[in-house]
Structures are given as C-alpha cells and as structure tokens.
C-alpha cells in the first residue's frame, strides 16, 4: 500500500512539474464543448437537449488525449522496468498510476464540466447529475484506457491505434453517463444509469489493472 501511495505521489509531483499537459487536456475539453453551439446554432432548447452527449463526448476525447502518456515516459526512461522488478505486485503499481492519471486528467474535467454546462443552459440539478456521472465515469475511462495505453506501448502509430482500441470500449460509459443526465431531464430518474455506471466502474477497477499489467509485461519483453 505504501508503494501505491508512493507512485501516486510521484506521478502527481511529475504532473505538477509539467502543468502544461494537464491544462492542454482541459483547454481541449473547453474548446470542443464550445465548438458545438457554433456548429449547430444557439437555440437554447436544442443546446439543452444535446448538452449531456456533447459534454460527455468532449470529456471522453479529452481524457483520451493524455492516455498515451500514461506509461510512455516510464517505458522510455526505464522506470517501468524497475516497477516490474519491484517486490510490490506490478498490478498495484499500475492501479496507482491509473489513479494518478485520473486525478490529473479526469478530476479536472469533472470540476470544469458544470461551468461548460452553463453554456448549454443546463439546470443546476442537471449539472449535479452531470458531475456525478462524470465522477463515476472518468475513472472508468482511465481504467479502460490504461489497457489500451499498455497494449500500444512502443508500437508503431500507437496514438491512432490507441483510440481505435479504446473508443469502442468507452461506449457503455458514454451511454450510461450521458443517459443519466438525459433520463433525469426527462423526469425518469438517473438512479438506474448511475448505478450501472458504478457497477461498470467496480468491474473495471477489478479487471483493468490486471489486464494492463499483462500488457505491460508483453511490452517489456
């Protein structure tokens, strides 16, 4: 457990030294979300209708932007080898890295989302549901993304390949995440969607580090 905390702290320290990377993803999120009204038109009722989907897709793409850096630097400078040889199970260290990735790329999106939601004229209640759905959904994106990032480590054209591998797996998160807000706006209640999202998160938290670890070992060989 100490090693888990140590790796989270190290990755946060590294992110703090390279703040620009965190902010790039955030700006990307803002810009993509702001492009939609410009492309579709500023009719308030329409914007309100598309808001959950647009914000979720934008968050998903922004979270994906930072994925290929999740293990690449560690792989390049040899830290990954040291992690694999550590007496601590590699899966635990990978979980730590995923958690740190979420703290630096997922959590900021959750916090920024309500501000962007205001651009789409969402009600305070919907903003709350949006935040909860992103809070449950973005860790899921980091977990699934870790598998893709590990698999494409050191592979030619890894960036594009990563999106091809990961985006189909993101669909359930997108459906339940955006669906939660829409269902609530339609007065159907978001509980079902959110609990399914939570179930997926639990499932991924259990399996994804394991799969990512197996993929990392292949990349190291």
């Amino acid at each position: 457990m100490n090693a888990f905390i140590a790796i989270v702290r190290r990755d946060l320290l590294l992110a703090a030294r390279r703040k620009s990377e965190v902010f790039t993803a955030l700006f990307f999120f803002m810009i993509v979300a702001s492009l939609f009204p410009l492309g579709i038109g500023a009719e308030t009722s329409l914007l309100r209708r598309i808001a959950p989907g647009v914000l979720w897709v934008a968050a998903l793409l922004a979270a994906m932007l930072s994925l290929n850096r999740m293990f690449a630097a560690d792989h390049q400078d040899g830290t990954l080898e040291q992690m694999a040889l550590s007496p601590t199970p590699l899966a635990l260290l990978v979980s730590g890295k995923v958690f740190a990735h979420w703290l630096t790329s997922g959590l900021p999106l959750v916090l920024l989302a309500p501000v962007l939601g205001l651009q789409f004229d969402l009600s305070p209640r919907s903003l709350g549901i949006l935040m909860i759905s992103l809070l449950l959904g973005t860790p899921l994106l980091s977990l699934i993304g870790a598998i893709g990032a590990a698999l494409t480590l050191g592979v030619r054209g890894g960036g594009v390949l990563l999106s091809l591998l990961v985006l189909p797996l993101y669909i359930p998160a997108l459906i339940f995440g955006a669906g939660a807000v829409e269902a609530d706006m339609a007065g159907l209640g978001a509980g079902g969607h959110l609990s399914l999202l939570g179930a997926l998160l639990a499932l991924a938290a259990f399996f994804a580090p394991w799969a990512a670890t197996a993929a990392l070992r292949i990349a190291l060989e």
Binding site: L165, L167, P168, L169, I175, A215
Partner: protein
C-alpha cells in the same frame, strides 16, 4: 489422463497441425458448399413470401446467420486467446489471427445486409437499431484487433497483445450489447425489429440454421487454410518445413 493431455499438446504444435489442417479443410469446404446449397434452396424456394415484408425479408437468411457468426467467431478467438495465455501454445495465437479477418468480414456482411434490409423496411439505409449498432461496434473491435496485431513486428508479441485485446473485448461485448439496447429503448429507436416482425415460422428458423451451418463450415475451412499460410510464414526456418513434400523442387 496425463497421456491424453500430452496428445492434445501434440496437435497444438504447428508441425503436426499444418498437415492436419491441410487434410481437414477440403472436407469443411465441401460441407459448407452442401449446406449453402440447401440453405439457399430453403431461402428462395421453400420459405413462403412474408405477407408484411414481401420478398425483402429473404435477406434475413444471410443477415442473421452472419451476425451469429461474427459474434461466435469473436468468442472462439477469445477462447484461443485464453488457451494461449494459460498453456503458452504457439498455435493459439496463429488461430486467433487466422479467424479475425473472417469474423470482421461476417460483421461487415451483417451490416451490409442490415442496411439493404433497412432501406425498404425503415426507409433508411442506416437506423440506430440495437442489433446493428452493436454489430458496428463489434466490427470496430475486430478492426482494433487486426490493426494492433499488424502494428507489432514480433509475431509472438503480437499474439500475446492480441490475446489480451480479444479477452478484454469478449468481456465487453455483452456489456456493450446491453448498454446499446438500454440506450435504444430510452431513445425510442427503430420499432420494427428484424427478427420480431415476421413470425418465426419453423421453415425460416431451419433456413437460418442451415445457412449458419454453411457459414460455420466456411469459416472453419478458410481459417484452416489461412492458418496454414501463417504457420509457413512464421516457421520458415524450422526443419520440418524444409522436409514438407510441397517444399521439394
């Protein structure tokens, strides 16, 4: 018991499997052709005209079996992946990569025929119906597998990475299917479902089953043929390859 295990592993060695596959594929190809003939005969001459959808519903005889095959092949790939990971057999990775293009092709056929069915029935080439949407995502999963294994130069590394992708994918296929269905009901998507609309008469079911068998046999035959090529590519420096009768001048 251990004796039997050893025998299984013997078949898993490329040197044994290569001639075996060579002997087996023509049989499967012949079976496939026979089933296809019967299946086509049922689809066009036995099955009666549907009173709602007219003759257009006959597309179902390839659409549904192709969807079945695309999902089934993905599961078989994952099975090979699991075998490869547990027993570290070389053949399993080769089988997975031999199956992937065929699986992707069936996913494509399913989408294509779905679109051709949808145009006259729904009035649109593409409808975000739960089945078609999941089939599209399945095609993406296949393409992801193919792209990843193609991008890795070392074949054994490619096999292992592909095994992880297919296992992760097979866990996700039901989740994706369920989520798409959920999404579809929320958004009141297409109301005419392909399999629900015509009453599932027994002749129809038989036609679909026999066409599915035809596709199945075809898949086995083509996968065996392809795996032979893959074995030759990968084992080119092995002595048993040099001793094959077809390698003598």
């Amino acid at each position: 018991m251990s004796q039997r295990l050893v025998n299984w592993f013997k078949f898993a060695s490329p040197a044994t499997f290569y001639p075996l596959a060579g002997k087996a594929w023509p049989w499967f190809a012949a079976l496939g052709t026979a089933f296809a003939a019967v299946g086509l005969w049922i689809s066009f001459f036995v099955a009666p005209t549907d009173f709602q959808q007219g003759e257009g519903y006959r597309i179902i005889f390839i659409h549904v079996p192709a969807s079945w095959m695309s999902m089934f092949i993905y599961c078989v790939m994952a099975l090979w992946a699991a075998i490869g990971i547990t027993f570290n057999t070389r053949l399993s990775g080769m089988m997975s990569s031999a199956l992937a293009p065929t699986g992707a092709l069936f996913a494509f056929i399913s989408l294509w025929t779905g679109a051709l069915w949808g145009k006259p029935m729904w009035g649109a080439w593409w409808v975000w119906d739960a089945r078609l949407t999941s089939e599209l995502i399945l095609l993406f999963l296949y393409l992801g597998y193919i792209a990843l294994t193609a991008a890795i130069d070392d074949p054994r590394r490619a096999d292992k990475a592909g095994a992880i992708v297919s296992l992760v994918g097979v866990v996700n296929v039901p989740i994706i299917y369920f989520s798409v269905k959920w999404w579809n009901t929320l958004h009141q998507g297409a109301s005419v479902s392909m399999t629900k609309a015509p009453t599932m008469a027994t002749t129809m079911l038989w036609g679909m089953l026999i066409m599915a068998l035809a596709f199945w046999m075809y898949s086995i035959a083509i996968a065996l043929y392809r795996v032979r090529a893959i074995i030759l590519e990968r084992e080119r420096h092995a002595t048993w390859v040099a001793e094959l009768p077809e390698m003598q001048a």
